[in-house]
């Protein structure tokens, strides 16, 4: 059983989506997680709950609201049109936006835990050793929270590869533009092309396992040191 050209296209698209989403998430989730880990603001609770929503919501709910918001009649859709960006649903950019939101808790929560575990002590020590705020973040926080960053990146990547509902709602099914592996498998099954579905599903299984092994395999390796 071999993969068709369309299967390969879906795999490439999925990897591109997961990479873009992970990169964006690390940039966006870091300040958000930093704020959540350290703030005493009354907004902490509501914001944390909002970030965690994608964990419990059916992906179709998230996808549906995004479709409404970003669609031609939605407020964000009107804005993107006014800015000359067109509308996002059924585009790769739309998929990226949806994936970032769907995977947000997978990036924010490990980072928040890592930052909270760090505590004030090393930061205060660094401040008394003449390190300013950015210097402290780059030379103390980043290295000490590196396992949090690895967890956030791996989980975001793996979760984006595995996302189905949000992607289907937002991106539909356009080969080469928005059709990712999970949707492609669904189409194969709908068409009773079980051998095709098997081949692609096995690729997904192997890929997901390999990605997670980066995270969990590391624990035992360092424990043996």
């Amino acid at each position: 059983m071999t993969l068709t050209a369309e299967d390969w296209q879906a795999i490439r698209l999925t990897l591109a989506l997961a990479t873009t989403t992970t990169a964006l998430l690390l940039v966006l989730a870091t300040p958000l997680a930093w704020w959540l880990a350290r703030t005493r603001s009354p907004w902490k609770g509501p914001v944390a709950a909002l970030v965690a929503l994608p964990l419990v919501l059916p992906p179709t709910v998230l996808g549906f609201y995004l479709l409404v918001l970003l669609g031609p009649a939605g407020p964000v859709g009107k804005l993107t049109q006014a800015l000359g960006l067109g509308i996002l649903p059924f585009t790769f950019s739309g998929l990226v936006v949806a994936s970032v939101l769907a995977s947000l808790p997978f990036a924010v929560q490990p980072l928040q835990q890592a930052f909270a575990a760090l505590g004030e002590a090393p930061l205060e020590a660094a401040a008394t050793l003449r390190a300013g705020p950015w210097d402290r973040f780059i030379h103390v926080v980043l290295p000490l929270a590196r396992s949090g960053f690895l967890t956030a990146a791996v989980l975001s990547f793996a979760h984006t590869i595995g996302e189905f509902g949000v992607v289907l709602m937002m991106g539909g099914n356009i080969p080469g533009r928005t059709k990712v592996v999970s949707v492609q498998i669904y189409d194969h099954v709908q068409a009773f092309a079980y051998p095709q579905a098997h081949a692609l599903a096995a690729v997904m299984l192997g890929l997901s396992f390999a990605v997670l092994l980066v995270l969990y395999g590391r624990g035992t390796a360092s424990a043996g040191r």
Binding site: A121, P122, E124, A125, A126, A127, T128, L129, R130, A131, G132, D135, H139, V140, P143, L144
Partner: protein, 366 residues
């Protein structure tokens, strides 16, 4: 910006004023401390010692505060210099080493952030001073508590601070580890001309290092003065403690190898102390406990006590039904004697009485 602002001839001072309301207590201090030597911030836990030290470092930012250290203004009503711009070294209770860096990289962390022209201590000098050469490639997780604290002290020194702040650096260590670090701290004090604020609730550390003593109680300054004077003040709780003691600064004048006795001259007399030989001229700090001092109206030569000095009573304070505390003056040097009330009455001990203080034991502090 530090030394430049200190006009020639201006006296080096550390000034700190704070008024901060915490839940449960208010820190309200107005301190004007000597800009040289070691000042101990002493008091029971909860008296505000650590809060004060953190405020001086700028680690906690308070609206009502004023800090000026040897000419450099760090904080007033309008200005607040953040901690990373203050020329401080800070040693925390827990060493707070960076877990991801080895000892050498921990030491270099602050050192490499100082412009070379402002470095007043060489890397090798700090390593030597704290005995760290064999540890340089180790990670903090592979150090003992005492070793970690030595690294933390060296790391702070390598920022060439104008003021070294130490927050109970020995508190988290057991007796053995403490004894292991004390000589290093003494060495730092001897070698570097660096003002220090030393937070402690351990009288032995204070007696050993401090030149000036600030007694904190419930967020307020109960007393602030030279160590010798302050330890002998009868109105302070220090003197009524079982372990109350005075500190005497002296100089070695002689050594009797036959009996292993060191003769130490101080302002007011000479004391003989069992000790190993030290070269004449060595500055030495002695401790005399109040309960090791007894009083006599005449000089008794027929006693096993080696040290008898003429003294004048300055003040007598009744401690309880059985005990009284007597503050004496031996020349200009204050001395405390803890005796029974009955003896005090029998001898007629009252201010201006001249008598002999017989000292049972003298400890060498440093």
């Amino acid at each position: 910006m530090d030394a430049a602002q200190l006009r020639p001839g201006a006296e080096a001072r550390i000034e700190a004023r704070f008024r901060v309301a915490y839940p449960g207590f208010t820190l309200e201090v107005d301190l004007d401390l000597p800009g040289r030597g070691v000042t101990a911030l002493f008091g029971p836990s909860g008296s505000g010692k650590t809060s004060l030290l953190r405020a001086i470092a700028g680690l906690d930012r308070h609206r009502q505060g004023y800090v000026r250290v040897n000419g450099a203004l760090w904080q007033d009503e309008v200005r607040f210099v953040p901690p990373h711009r203050r020329a401080i070294g800070y040693v925390f209770q827990e060493a707070n080493l960076f877990a991801h860096l080895d000892v050498a990289a921990n030491l270099r962390f602050g050192w490499q952030r100082i412009p070379p022209s402002e470095r007043r201590i060489a890397f090798e000098e700090a390593v030597e001073l704290l005995g760290l050469a064999p540890l340089l490639t180790r990670l903090p997780a592979r150090l003992s508590g005492g070793e970690r604290q030595r690294v933390a002290i060296a790391r702070a020194l390598l920022t060439s601070p104008r003021l070294l702040l130490l927050d109970e650096p020995l508190a988290s260590l057991d007796r053995k580890r403490k004894a292991e670090i004390l000589p290093y701290l003494a060495q730092v004090k001897r070698t570097l001309d660096l003002p220090m604020l030393y937070v402690s609730h351990a009288p032995e550390e204070v007696g050993r290092f401090a030149d000036h003593l600030v007694l904190l109680e419930g967020g307020r300054v109960r007393a602030s003065g030279p160590l010798q004077e302050t330890l002998a003040r009868l109105d302070l709780p220090l003197a009524s403690d079982e372990e109350a003691a005075v500190v005497i600064e002296g100089t070695v004048v002689d050594y009797d190898p036959a009996y292993a006795l060191l003769a130490v001259k101080f302002a007011g007399g000479t004391l003989l102390v069992p000790h190993r030989q030290e070269p004449p001229g060595t500055a030495i700090r002695l401790q005399v406990r109040a309960r090791d001092v007894s009083l006599a109206l005449t000089e008794h030569a027929d006693t096993s006590l080696l040290n008898r000095v003429p003294a004048v009573v300055q003040e007598v304070r009744v401690l309880d039904a059985a005990h009284a505390l007597v503050r004496l003056q031996v020349g200009p040097t204050p001395l405390l004697a803890r005796i029974t009330r009955r003896s005090a009455e029998a001898l007629g001990v009252r201010p201006t009485t001249s008598l002999w203080a017989q000292i049972k034991a003298v400890a060498v502090l440093s």
